[in-house]
Point group: C2
């Protein structure tokens, strides 16, 4: 039900019954490798194009999440998903394979939490027994579409981010055991006038802070309510800006641990990722892999995931538009059995 | 709440409190002209690009729908919208202007009913008092992105469809007077192997029929339950295929009137539109303009709108993929006061 202006509280506590994460070889060399379900040795996944490979990532993650939940795809009522590709083709084509009624969504890299928020809302309101939420990105397909082909070897400034090759999926259920989704805050579009697509972190930070503020206000809580707060993929540059903004807005973040998914998945010392990671797959694989695993182990009791998205297109950038950004927050808590 | 496998029944009867439609000059010369809120004389809308013009269409429709509902934008909790542009920039940029918490969705031309279904389900489950659903398309921006620039003057086969320049928006509310949204059926992705982007109607017809069948099965009703059933934008070619498939599947469509939005908005005798109309704006402006007006006048008591979408991208087509399609159905009934 609605709480405050833009948040939902899920009083029926929808359960994350199963999750799965599928990544590429580069992510498999990072510090979170042990948390991923499948690590591919070849980023082409034996497909003929990067785009086809990206589709396979989400297909595999979706199928494995369904299996991990102990379900068959026929038992799942709705698949809520999207990605960064034009016309979200990775998700639409995966929906064709899965044959589950499909709600396509788009929030750029915030799609991970947009889809989880909607899945939880649909299950909470008894509009589904089981809903699948998932998203994906592929470094090469995204770089090609938004920037330059990787073969071109263009130099990147230190503010640039490296798109994650990976897919994460979760089954949200009205029964069973597992972490529960307790609330969600849907973000407004915030645009601070930044035009540099090689500095997404700076563009997205104000949106993350706006959604966090709205979340604390709507739910009448403070950051200390959570053991951990993570933003989606602000990476180093955006994370620092977010920290400054949070201080300026007098949000007592010192009460809790605050991290960013974009700074967790790669090893800055050995992997050349400039400011850090980005892409729909970033917050999805960190949350559904590493963070949910930590929750299952009892290391985290309550967390807030604030996935951030830059809603530009190459065309809007070429037409001189600034970069509108958004962030959606979802809170996840250890279930009764955990 | 969930009904059957893939449908929702809205027991709290969310009300369509206000609607608005904004179209271009070509649509203003068609047979539904008197049903549109604003008809622009220039398809550029005094903007510098077609894409910027498309954004203005949905901004105007959204603002007018809010005004027609007797609200201010601050009272609206969520804006659910999407469009055909890469990364749904028209909707994202409109969400920036409106500053309403935004859920971006994508279902190609089925976006009109995907957004209405979600808005109704959010309001029905007490997750919002007021939600805005809307979508748009612009003939020139869509042609340029998916096919060829209009200036190129490429010939089109008789199966091609003409993208509507228009935007439609609706405010869904938990109180007030107006037509009510009673149910929705979320479609599966159906792909019959068609590869020709100049024959979308044929590709989409099986998806429309699959969703209609699911709707009747889930709700345990027959077509005669409705005074009118309309598909989104199958146009002449797709409509004929849908009629054949419905007959083959023994769905007694003779019980009701069955029309297609793609065949209603233009005059085949005087407007060169080949098979008919298409685009996100097509079913949106026909439904929120003409059909809702007929309902307000008492001419229709119950209708089912089955919006259809072709989920291809130029890149998926270039890579030899077939065209996956989807359809979402929403039923609308005259409210108690009507």
């Amino acid at each position: 039900m609605l709480k405050g202006h833009q948040s939902w509280v899920f009083e029926n506590k929808p359960v994350i019954l199963g999750t799965a994460t599928v990544v590429g070889p580069f992510e498999g060399r990072g510090p979170l490798a042990k948390d991923f379900s499948i690590i591919h040795g070849d980023s082409m996944l034996e497909e003929k194009s990067w785009e086809k490979a990206e589709k396979v990532l989400i297909e595999e993650a979706a199928k494995l999440a369904i299996e991990n939940a102990g379900l068959t795809k026929e038992q799942v009522q709705f698949y809520i998903g999207g990605d960064l590709m034009n016309q979200i083709i990775s998700s639409s084509f995966a929906a064709r394979t899965l044959s589950i009624p499909f709600l396509g969504v788009f929030g750029a890299c915030s799609t991970s939490m947009e889809s989880l928020a909607l899945a939880a809302m649909i299950v909470n309101s008894k509009s589904a027994h089981y809903a699948l939420a998932g998203t994906c990105s592929h470094n090469a397909s995204v770089e090609k579409q938004f920037r330059y082909p990787t073969e071109y070897g263009s130099q990147k400034p230190p503010t640039a981010q490296y798109t994650v090759t990976g897919a994460g999926a979760a089954i949200v259920s009205d029964k069973g055991e597992g972490p529960v989704v307790t609330s969600a805050t849907i973000g407004r579009v915030i645009d601070m006038g930044i035009t540099d697509p090689f500095n997404m972190g700076a563009a997205m930070a104000p949106a993350a802070v706006d959604t966090m503020e709205a979340h604390f206000r709507d739910l009448n809580i403070q950051p200390g309510h959570y053991d951990l707060i993570v933003t989606g993929d602000l990476s180093k540059v955006g994370y620092e800006i977010a920290c400054e903004l949070l201080k300026k807005h007098k949000i007592p973040m010192q009460q809790t641990e605050y991290k960013d998914c974009g700074m967790m998945i790669y090893d800055y010392d050995t992997q050349m990722v400039q400011s850090g990671a980005s892409g729909c797959g970033c917050s999805a694989v960190v949350t559904y892999g590493h963070l949910i695993n930590r929750m299952r182990k009892g290391e985290i009791k309550r967390m807030l995931v604030v996935a951030t998205g830059a809603l530009l297109s190459p065309l809007s950038f070429q037409q001189g538009e600034t970069i509108p950004c958004i962030a959606h927050a979802v809170s996840i808590e250890a279930g009764r059995d955990m």
